[in-house]
Point group: C2
Chain length 253, copies 2
């Protein structure tokens, strides 16, 4: 049996996964921050990412449904409350809808998941199933992309404010709020993984789970890039930006 | 296709299921309320029912993980918060542990699920799986035994206070609190089933789900009765009351 890593070494390797594979390295993401997306591409990003946002409480409830420890549940349930809010006027999902309206999307159509790319659904649904079905340690480890999120959100707020007319404190409130929520959430998840991943096999599984999660995020940007940037081949049924609606090439072009 | 029932007729039939099959009719339950259980039998009831209590938040989280509607989730999440409480000193599970101590059980052993009957686990686990896997309408309908619970809890508080030394407002706080929680919860679930069970097939499925749930409750009392009353054949590994520990007949007797 291979020797287990120290908890510090495990954490170092988990953080290295972010350096190597987090979706801030994706070309689509670089364009987003550099101000290189047009309105339709921004809308496609916000719409597709809404699907991800809308599934997060279900993912967290699936995780909750597997936890025997009351103290753990009490901590984790805060994620669902953060996302759903206390009324339809509050919570992370609502803040994402405000962003959607800010980039010119219709709130009702977004909520109806009208035009979300199939590849977005496949990736996000794979994440929800992973959290529901895999060992609890793996499920928690898959949430650790939050280690990398605050830095990204900080950069994103600055980049979007600098580069896009729609950006203001109201439309970017989702990211601003996550700056304080994510570190609290991730501290709990990281401590759990450091403590519970005792054997080397468990540690490798935790790292694989985090890699899997970076794949889930990366695949979503691949799909956006393919459909809306290059080659720009929008799949049947998916959102078509206004500037592509006239003179749109047929799918076979 | 058979005509759907009116919502009122559906509700009437759901309530009739309680009259016919709710576990207050079980001989073990009648003994409990009549003061006919000895200390060991009471302990066995409280211990096994703890397993059910401990799974309820997991069942509710499994249901939550399937609900797209934020307003629904906001309502349902209250059940988990009620059970888990805001700290280890509050919540329904804690109140059940206070009851367990009241009947002379060791809190830690109860929480470790030491000696819970296998049949209790099978029945309760079947309930959690049902809620996780069946259509949402069926999952919600299976919660409607709460239609029958307040009346039972009211009678139980009076009966236990009259018949058992351990009973007082502190040890019975679980039931007292459910008198106000259950009607609020069930109003939401009943309205959902009345509204969403539109076809006759859906209505029959909702009734079958409620019957299934009454089976889950009934089977738990069957197992208690068999092991601790008549014939009193305690399965290997299950809780053995103090008065059965000396001169206990071998399992093959």
């Amino acid at each position: 049996m291979t020797e287990p890593l120290s908890a510090d070494e495990l954490e170092r390797r988990l953080r290295a996964i972010g350096v190597e594979r987090y979706h801030d390295k994706h070309p689509f993401h670089r364009r987003l921050h550099a101000g290189g997306l047009n309105r339709g591409q921004l809308q496609a990003w916000v719409l597709n990412r809404y699907y991800y946002q809308s599934r997060i409480p279900l993912k967290d409830a699936a995780l909750l449904s597997r936890v025997d420890d009351r103290a753990f549940r009490r901590e984790w349930i805060g994620r669902i409350l953060d996302h759903d809010g206390e009324s339809d006027d509050s919570g992370g999902i609502e803040r994402w809808l405000v962003l959607a309206e800010g980039v010119g999307l219709d709130r009702e159509k977004v909520m109806a998941l009208d035009g979300v790319l199939p590849a977005t659904r496949f990736a996000v649904d794979a994440y929800v199933r992973f959290v529901r079905d895999m060992p609890l340690l793996d499920a928690v480890a898959s949430s650790l992309t939050e280690l990398f999120a605050p830095q990204l959100h900080e950069a994103r707020i600055a980049a979007l404010l600098a580069n896009y007319d729609f950006a203001n404190e109201r439309t970017l409130a989702y990211f601003r709020r996550r700056l304080s929520q994510a570190p609290r959430d991730v501290a709990f998840g990281l401590a759990f993984v450091r403590r519970e991943a005792r054997t080397r096999d468990q540690q490798e599984a935790a790292m694989a789970a985090l890699r899997f999660k970076t794949d889930v995020l990366w695949a979503q940007l691949d799909a956006l890039h393919f459909a809306y940037v290059e080659p720009g081949l929008i799949p049947p049924g998916a959102f078509v930006p206004a500037d592509r609606r006239a003179g749109q090439p047929p799918l076979s072009a």
